[in-house]
Amino acid sequence: MSTGIDKTGIKIGMWLFLYSEIILFGGLFVLYAAYFYKYPEFFSEGGKELNRVIGAVNTVVLLVSSFTVAASITAVQRKAKKQAIGLLIFSIFCGVVFLVNKYFEWGAKFHHDIYPNSETLVSGEVGLNIFFGLYYVITGLHGLHVIIGMILLSISLVLVMAGKVTESKYSMLENAGLYWHLVDLIWIFVFPLFYLVL
């Protein structure tokens, strides 16, 4: 206990927060499942409207960024500061790419008059309205998490540059990384459930 910092305690605190996030998104997925059971044909019809290519690209982007964040922790542990900085900048860049894709995706949907409370959805089938409602709530909340994750990664990046995050004290980076991986975990379920339903 030379430093007097309880690293395990810090990590447990972060995990407790992540548990609440898991239950939050878990609740939304249960809602998805219950309505999928009720309107399976509309869910598959709605799923076909979504762009699989953008969905798949975003999955790859998030997986790669998760890898680079994990690698940046390894770099910090090995005292390779420059590598760590490079990896973190790349990860944040991946977050930007994800959001830009999301922007174009949502933009195209808005263009086709598919958005919450739009004329097409309100006067159309109930099942489709519910599918797109869930789509906007879940991907929107997920997008918000991407933004928060990018902010946390940026703070960690600044701290690494300033020499505040080092091989003996990197809990901030580790917890920011855990948050980023959680964002990835959620997307791993969002992608097949929304984009790939037959």
Partner: protein, 95 residues
């Protein structure tokens, strides 16, 4: 002892292998989605997603190297999630 566990360093090679596996599994999900398996469409997609999530948790999120507190509390969370999903399905499926 505890601090040594905390300082476990994952090599780039291990991380890259995990990433490779995750990308392959993503390809598999996309591929499988073009085949109509009827009832099994969703279960298969979820099984692949769960496999991917397990690898992210074990390696990227370091769960494999954590102590008992984090491991057990994580399993506890997932148990409660399963209880929530399970009981809602008892209700929804037999209405």
């Amino acid at each position: 002892m505890d601090s040594q566990k905390n300082n476990h360093i994952l090599s780039y090679t291990t991380l890259a292998l995990v990433l490779g596996l995750l990308l392959v599994l993503t390809g598999v999900t996309v591929g499988v989605s073009y085949i109509d398996l009827g009832f099994f469409n969703v279960p298969v997609a979820l099984a692949i997603a769960c496999t991917k999530v397990t690898f992210v948790l074990l390696f990227f999120m370091h769960l494999r190297y954590e102590g008992p507190i984090i491991n057990f509390s994580f399993i506890g969370t997932i148990s409660f999630l399963l209880i929530m999903i399970g009981f809602i399905f008892f209700d929804v499926a037999f209405r």
